[in-house]
Symmetry: C2
Subunit: 87 residues, 2 copies
Amino acid sequence: MYVILVYDVGEKRVGKMLKLCRQYLNWIQNSVFEGEITSVKLKELLKKAKRLMDMDNDSIIVFKSRDIKWLEKEIIGLEKNPLDTML
Amino acid sequence: MYVILVYDVGEKRVGKMLKLCRQYLNWIQNSVFEGEITSVKLKELLKKAKRLMDMDNDSIIVFKSRDIKWLEKEIIGLEKNPLDTML
């Protein structure tokens, strides 16, 4: 499946969260990641993320699309991290 | 269509961008918005956004899904802005 992951975590935890998410998905901007991932790998990522998070204040939102072709991507302005796999 | 919009703009422009995007979409977290929107309204939003942006340094990414039912949303931790229309 293709996912878009956005996180909103406390300043102290941003570095670790960025490092973790980079192991599974492509960083595209700010606290936003996208990429192809299996449900097993996504579960693994989210389990590790929960260990980093302050569950009362931090937030991760994952948008899942069963197939990359059901998502169209438009970029305005600077493309912060050009992916080689363009949607 | 259903869209997820994320922006990464300079500090001085964040306030205006937030205000603009709020007129068209639902704020959910950080610089992330989602919602149902027509292509005409999306064009209008992006046209106004471009006028606010420094096109060499700022960035907006829009993920478009033809139908909300092709997108599944998972929230971990705090839901910053609970939408009444849950995916």
